[in-house]
């Protein structure tokens, strides 16, 4: 078998089916990102204090640029794999592997962290059901102190249920997301509107801004935490290969997701500072939205249990996107020869990537158990969360810039704004200014994460190194280069993807662009 043949995406095996609609695509993203704000609000308030809205807005601007980069790339290359695929296509196999391993770390943590947090919100109701508080189950197991086996068991049951759901198929899994997500959006919107109408006091916001501005260190730490509240846009790209008409749908769902999440994050932080002192959120990091809801006139009485139920739901579907993301990412990595083809088997009946679902959800289970052996499972998991995302996003920006030069002919249904026209090797190229600004922005946040997150800066690189060990062994055993790329027939693959996605408009544009490129090459010769 030639190297090229080994590297080509394998055909013939069952492919993922296209079942995700416009609303489903949006909800995959919202399920992931929406939950982040729910968790991060209290943490950011604790550090950014009177400047919380500013911190969310600044992190949000970086996030908007990341989002626009993803929108451009996911609509131009509607293939499962998201950021890792873009890095592989733009920068080569090794970069694809690095971005893939960084994002994979986030997906597995996503499963563990959000299932743990969801179970935590469910525990709010425990005293009403069994008459005991969850804290009463805390015990010591050998050398491990403050272990909560009940909470851990609840988390594992939730993950088990999600695994079953995902093996059954994306349609069922997507349906759960769509219904729960719609309820969450409606209720969060109602909370924001009622809070602005009846509880918000601009003078309190101004007072906290003037008198409670944080130190530079706290401001920076708050910013590095705030970016966590925007992690998850990747999910839309991950299900691109299962989305109907992805090149048309993804730009719309991505742009809507970017701005709705940004609006929610800035609205919640602005409301928080205009309704209560920031210290109240810092004292209730576990349920900041419930604290906010409780302070709203007319709905305050029922807001506590309601916010807890809402939190449990959105965190549950966020854990679900972690399973979908990790399984699709590894499915794609195996298709491109980055990891073993053993992973790309699709369930004969349900057409879902069964092995990747089981293996990487299994890693999520392992992380859950390990984190419950530390004094605070949530802290341990959250600390590692930002590393993978910021590393992956940095590589996506670099890939975006590179692809503008190496594949200017690829039709891009959406392009990042602010471009400079250049001539490169006789071709017209649009240089993305925002891509450069975004690289610097997300690179700065990555630097801040490494500087300030004590667990993340060790565990993150250690995970990437561990994955590299596997990658190097696998590539060597197959006779493939480790740091160099193998031949990929991108053009054929792009045409196959556009045909299967029924994006005939783009397909014709792509064929014409290739013909024009070939003609120019002939002229130059």
């Amino acid at each position: 078998m030639t190297v090229e043949a080994k590297a080509a995406p394998r055909q013939g095996k069952s492919e993922l089916r296209r079942d995700v609609s416009v609303w489903g695509s949006y909800m995959w993203g919202f399920a992931d990102v929406g939950a982040d704000t729910y968790v991060a609000l209290g943490l950011v308030m604790a550090y950014a204090q009177g400047a919380t809205s500013l911190v969310f807005a600044l992190a949000g601007i970086v996030y908007i640029m990341i989002g626009l980069a993803y929108t451009e790339l996911a609509s131009a290359y509607p293939v499962a794999g998201g950021g890792s695929y873009f890095a592989l296509r733009g920068l080569g196999d090794f970069s694809g592997f690095v971005a893939g391993s960084a994002l994979l770390l986030d997906y597995t943590i996503d499963i563990a962290l959000f299932a743990t947090a969801s179970a935590g919100y469910i525990n709010f109701f425990m005293p009403y059901i069994i008459g005991r508080d969850i804290a009463s189950f805390v015990t010591n197991i050998g050398p491990f102190h403050n272990v909560n086996p009940v909470w851990c068991a609840e988390t594992l049951i939730l993950i088990g249920f999600l695994i079953w759901l995902n093996v059954r198929g994306i349609r069922e899994s997507s349906f759960v997301n769509e219904v729960i997500g719609a309820v969450v959006i409606a209720t969060e919107s109602a909370l924001v509107i009622l809070a602005f109408l009846f509880a918000w006091r601009p003078e309190l916001l101004a007072h906290q801004w003037n008198t409670q501005f944080p130190s530079l260190h706290n401001f920076m730490y708050g910013s590095s935490i705030a970016i966590i509240s925007f992690v998850g846009l990747e999910s839309i790209s991950e299900v691109a290969q299962e989305t109907r008409r992805p090149a048309t749908v993804i730009p719309r769902t991505s742009i809507t997701l970017i701005f709705t999440v940004f609006i929610f994050a800035v609205a919640f932080s602005t409301l928080g500072l205009g309704i209560l002192p920031w210290q109240e959120f810092a004292a209730n990091i576990d349920n900041p939205v419930a604290v906010l809801a409780e302070a709203i006139p007319f709905v305050g009485l029922i807001a506590g249990p309601f916010a807890a139920a809402l939190g449990a739901l959105i965190l549950f579907i966020s854990a679900n996107t972690g399973i979908v993301g990790s399984s699709r990412l590894t499915y794609y990595l195996s298709k491109f020869g980055i990891i073993s083809p053993w992973f790309d088997a699709v369930h004969p009946k349900y057409k879902t990537p069964i092995r990747t679902i089981l293996v990487f959800s299994g890693i999520g289970v392992f992380e859950t158990i390990l984190s419950f052996l530390t004094p605070s499972a949530m802290d341990t998991l959250a600390n590692m969360y930002a590393f993978g995302a910021t590393l992956g996003y940095t590589m996506v920006f670099i890939a975006l810039i590179k692809l503008r030069f190496s594949e200017p002919w690829t039709p891009r249904p959406y392009k990042m704004p602010l471009n400079i026209k250049l001539k490169y090797k006789g071709r017209k190229v649009l240089f993305p200014v925002l891509g450069v600004i975004g690289t610097l922005g997300v690179g700065t946040i990555l630097f801040m994460v490494v500087l300030t997150h004590s667990i993340g800066r060790i565990a993150g690189p250690a995970w990437v190194l561990l994955c590299f060990g596997y990658y190097a062994w696998y590539r060597k055993s197959r006779g493939l280069p480790i740091f160099k790329s193998i031949e990929h027939n991108w053009e054929k693959q792009q045409m196959d993807v556009l045909t299967s996605a029924e994006e005939f408009d783009l397909l014709e544009q792509y064929k014409i662009a290739l013909a024009e490129r070939d003609k120019k090459r002939t002229e130059l010769k």
């Binding site: 509880a199 709705t260 209560l276 004292a283 302070a295 006139p297 408009d505």
Partner: protein, 192 residues
């Protein structure tokens, strides 16, 4: 938690109400836009649509008369969306009694004038004009040569509205083009 059990008094401010309205409009607008994507295009429709979009270099022969200049305008409109290059050619028909490079000052001046007018039309559409003065024994052969040399995608030809006598309705030039052109040919014939 300090706020637990504390009853909050409703407080309505103008800024708060304005932000609530702004939030509602922004969210509603975004979701509405997202849920209304453009409809799907069928393969045959896409093929037809982009077949015209593929005209990146359009050749228009001109003789400086109104019908050929209308052909230039037509070519510009065909090429506007995809920013096509417009190749304008004037073929000087050199009698066989003269060498091909023989000076014909009067005809050359007329050709320059025709190409200049054609260039003006092209520039009005913000497209790139490429001017070619070609010498040939027959206009049709000259146009085919320019088409081949410049690898054009389509030839747009405006032909005279009236034809006389026994000759074929297309005329000799058109006939040559239809037989020998290396690309698509669009003919614009005005009514008599």
């Amino acid at each position: 938690m300090e706020s637990k059990g504390k009853k909050m008094e409703p407080q309505v401010t103008f800024l708060g109400a304005a932000l609530a309205v702004l939030f509602t409009i922004s969210m509603g607008g975004l979701l509405w836009w997202m849920l209304h994507p453009p409809r799907q295009i069928q393969p045959a429709v896409a093929k037809a649509r982009y077949a015209v979009g593929a005209f990146k270099r359009i050749l228009v022969p001109t003789s400086g008369v109104p019908y050929s200049e209308k052909g230039i305008e037509l070519a510009c409109r065909l090429g506007t969306e995809q920013e096509a290059e417009i190749v304008l050619t004037y073929v000087l028909e050199i009698p066989r009694t003269l060498p091909l490079n023989a000076p014909i000052p009067e005809a050359e001046a007329q050709a320059d004038e025709a190409l200049k007018r054609g260039k003006e039309i092209v520039e009005l559409h913000h497209l790139v004009p490429i001017l070619k003065l070609e010498r040939a024994r027959e206009a049709g052969e000259g146009i085919v040569k320019v088409a081949k040399d410049n690898q054009v995608d389509v030839i747009v030809l405006g032909i005279r509205p009236n034809w006389r006598g026994t000759q074929n309705i297309w005329g000799k030039t058109t006939d040559t083009l239809l037989r020998k052109a290396p690309c698509e040919v669009v003919i614009d014939k005005l009514p008599e």
